[in-house]
Amino acid sequence: MIEIHELTKRYGDRIAVDNLSCTVRPGQVTGFLGPNGAGKSTTMRMIVGLDRPASGIATIAGRPYTRHAAPLRQAGALLEAKSFHKGRTAFHHLLALAQTHGIPPARVWDVLALAGLESVARRRAGGFSLGMAQRLGIAAALIGDPAVIILDEPVNGLDPDGVIWIRTLLKTLAAEGRTVLISSHLMSEMAVTADHLLIIGRGRLLADTPVQDLIARVGVNQVLVRSPQATDLAELLLERAATVTPVEPGLLRVRGASAESIGELAAEKGLVLYELAPQRASLEQAYLQLTRAAVEFGTDRGGSL
């Protein structure tokens, strides 16, 4: 479990993380979501003690990461893909990390196999593609068999096979009861990978919610109905306690009634329908709605979503 309490980080005048409090629970994949520059990476770096907060505290299993006797056992992190020396082989990179904790070399081979890097283990990591570098970073994060796994943009640079591999891996790790925190600026990625979402913008927490609840909360189901007899239909729907908003002549937006019940009602009363379209808010819309105000680099948004 990761507990973040009133965490704040400043770079000069700029506030990167602003009084952030939240809890990341075990047994599920938690998505850390926000536009570029929202403070996701900075928060992750503070969790594993690479950055020092201006105020506040982040703990893993009740203690700051740096206070644990065997930190790699508590948490493994992938913060940037290329966190290795180009001249060292994948095996020696992982071995050096393992040796700090007295972890046996057999475990190095285990994580190399898990990451699909066995065949290139003796090759120098400088020649790795971005996808292989990412896999090496994930292998490094798992070396201590940690209870908490923190991955910053883990699907970056992975090919489609790799993306499916990481999704499966994350779900397996969560199912084993571990705490899994992954960041992304891609809502679509989170929709298929995460169970729970922490959404931040400008360093502040905007939402702490299960993925399903987010859809329900923002995506109030509504139905668009086009009919030449819209006025009559509207009256009938109002009698049945639905909310009806006229959009334009002959077009209604209906809440509180399903497309099926509206269709049946129209058939029963002999009304003509030209169009009957259920509107489901996508996660993308939900996310946009939440972050719109908080987007720091407005011009970046189109490209990153």
Binding site: R45, V48, G49, L50, D51, R52, Y65, T66, H68, A69, A70, P71, L72, R73, A75, G76, A77, L79, E80, K82, S83, F84, H85, K86, G87, R88, T89, H92, H93, L95, A96, L97, A98, Q99, T100, H101, G102, I103, A140, G144
Partner: protein
Amino acid sequence: MTGVTFGRVARSEWTKLRSLRSTWIILGCTAILTVAFSAAFGHGYGGQIRSGEVTPSLDKAIDVTFIGLDLSALIIGVFGILQMTGEHGSGLIRASLTAVARRWPLLLAKALVLAVVTAAVLGPTCLAAFGVCQAMIGDPGAGLGDPGALRAVAGATGYAVAMALFGLGLGAALRHTAVAITVFVAGLLILPAMLGPALPAELEHRVLPYVPIAAAQAVYAQVPDGSGPFSLLSPWSGLFVLLGWVIAVLAVGIVVLTRRDA
């Protein structure tokens, strides 16, 4: 039982050091260059003796061996710098500091491994350089049993180890390879040469013997008066001054490493 201990971090640092090809290239080149230069200086000095230009002196024969040692020290210093800046430059530092979250053991373990490896390579190298140099001088050459000879070999090795650690500390304090090398070369080799003319004479005599390179020279040189404008410290004082410098720079490195965001 797993947990981070200093011994484990040192073992990890040994793995890091030995698994880079560049480690063995740099150390190999340093060894070859050191012995080659000593051979050349020995040959030159032997020639001067044979032609009657100089009168043979055992002290001088020993000193001749290590005339070129500053070059070896420079390479070894850069080697030390790279141990730390290589981690910052590649991003490995993030992985290293999540493993060794308390940070200071990382630098001390690096220092230990670096000192042992440098001593293990430069010790035999300096011994070989001495042997080859004296052989080139010929009959008037010194033997290891001659007074001061062992001190010269051990002192030269110590100088190399000190420069490696000095570089490591600078690397930790400055983080960038180019910046650290610039400061190393300027501070260690160039500034002391400029201090002479810049300082008033009596201050010059008091300050210059304490700069790292002069302190190091005091440890391995036989003729303390030298030809320079100032007198060297005694070998033991030189050793302590050199040690002081190394500890000071490593301390700054530890402070920077533990205080700053990685």
